[in-house]
Symmetry: C3
Subunit: 207 residues, 3 copies
Amino acid sequence: MEKLHSLYYFLELAGCFAFAISGAVAARQRGLDLFGIAALAFTVACGGGIIRDLCIGAIPPAGLKNWQFLAVSMFATGLTVGLYPIVQRLKRPVLFFDNVGLALFAVTGAQKALAYGHNGEVAILLGITTAVGGGVLRDVLLNRVPIILEKEIYASAALIAAVIVVLGDYSNWMSSELTSLVALVTCFTLRTLALRYHWNLPSPSLK
Amino acid sequence: MEKLHSLYYFLELAGCFAFAISGAVAARQRGLDLFGIAALAFTVACGGGIIRDLCIGAIPPAGLKNWQFLAVSMFATGLTVGLYPIVQRLKRPVLFFDNVGLALFAVTGAQKALAYGHNGEVAILLGITTAVGGGVLRDVLLNRVPIILEKEIYASAALIAAVIVVLGDYSNWMSSELTSLVALVTCFTLRTLALRYHWNLPSPSLK
Amino acid sequence: MEKLHSLYYFLELAGCFAFAISGAVAARQRGLDLFGIAALAFTVACGGGIIRDLCIGAIPPAGLKNWQFLAVSMFATGLTVGLYPIVQRLKRPVLFFDNVGLALFAVTGAQKALAYGHNGEVAILLGITTAVGGGVLRDVLLNRVPIILEKEIYASAALIAAVIVVLGDYSNWMSSELTSLVALVTCFTLRTLALRYHWNLPSPSLK
């Protein structure tokens, strides 16, 4: 069990790193300055979790309190600013870890809401928020319609992961560890397949 | 009294429905996918109330906890996606319920802040926030200047309703029920007349 | 000491006024109506502090509770609407007080986070948030990329002020009053020099 938790912790930081890279790269492409790049990296990595913590009453939000998130964001900023060729070559691993991050943030977000004693609906809504909130803030700050609202199965994969966590918690069919593993793998697989085969949710306006 | 509360409850859900429709329709017109439409509907219906609850310490926010709001938002999404012709024909009732929602959210928002023991200023500011917060978030997410800041008497009607609630609470001239009725009717009437006769607040830059 | 506190209080309201003017002027230039101008003025003056208070658990946020902030914002709105020529002639003092406000908000933001028992990282991040949050919200509402992320040494000056406050608190080298004075002067001087000599942070994308 101890090992599983260490693994989760490593994966969470890796997901955080992937999110931070996505923020830093987008900021660099828009011509923001050094501070702007760092701020965007941190916002994408921690924004969703901070909103979740405000909503469940976890004060101060973990993203502001734990130096690891800030350190990972600054590392991503440094890479994006100083070693952009490397970041460009990291494109595939970054996509991989972005999917890992999405799955993990959805699962841990829902679990944290449950752990604070809130009901399943809160857990599902905040699981999604944790997973996609940072990306939405990034797009709002960069003045564009959040990409996750427009295309690709992204937030929907987070939704499914959060639902699995909540169902597992209610039904007690599986141990909490097994549930979160199933949720993680489902979300990650769905998202990876969606990327590979260009699965989209229907966009009714195009009918 | 019991009946009045049931009536309020029905009206609140009706207002919530009108707000959700406005979010879903705007999202559909911008070409968002299914998830995006549902997310916008929910955001407009519950966003203002969630911000209010964070500010008064009502954790978790009611919009995340009570399934009715989510259900109404999903119903509005379903209608907008599946039966768009009906939604278009609903234009007049939707405007009607949007005005009802505005009035009700301003009144209940201010009342909830007072009930949590905060002062009149907090109640007025959060009454407005409850009423217009969702619409502001919708416009920010859709990448446009919030329409309520640009034209028509909308937020100002909410302001007046919230002020009436607070004055009533301080003065004890009328029962709380009567005060909220006066506030509701004032806000609703003002908004309806403003729509009909194209009343706008002055826009100083056009002088 | 008493006098120093009165001075700080005066300066805080002056900074608040400068921030409100910047919001009101930007709103007027974008053609918002009276309510929109007042809302923007208040948002720039109080937005950063409200986010900080939500994150440290100061409920309700001071910006909503203390009438002085609202009064100063409404005064700035009145000036911008009724006496625009005066506001234009105030350009220099407004820039001056904007720099004062930046420095003061960074210092008092970090101090308030420490006073609520949070760690240095929280204090630094929320010191910056207090100082620049209002301006970021202004730009998001007016549908443009936040200017502070793009150019000029602005948020970085706030960062340095917040770091000085936290270092002073940890090291006990100086009294808290002296520390905040040093932080204030450093931030204000840095920002004023940056404005005068057009210092910018490097913008990596332009390499």
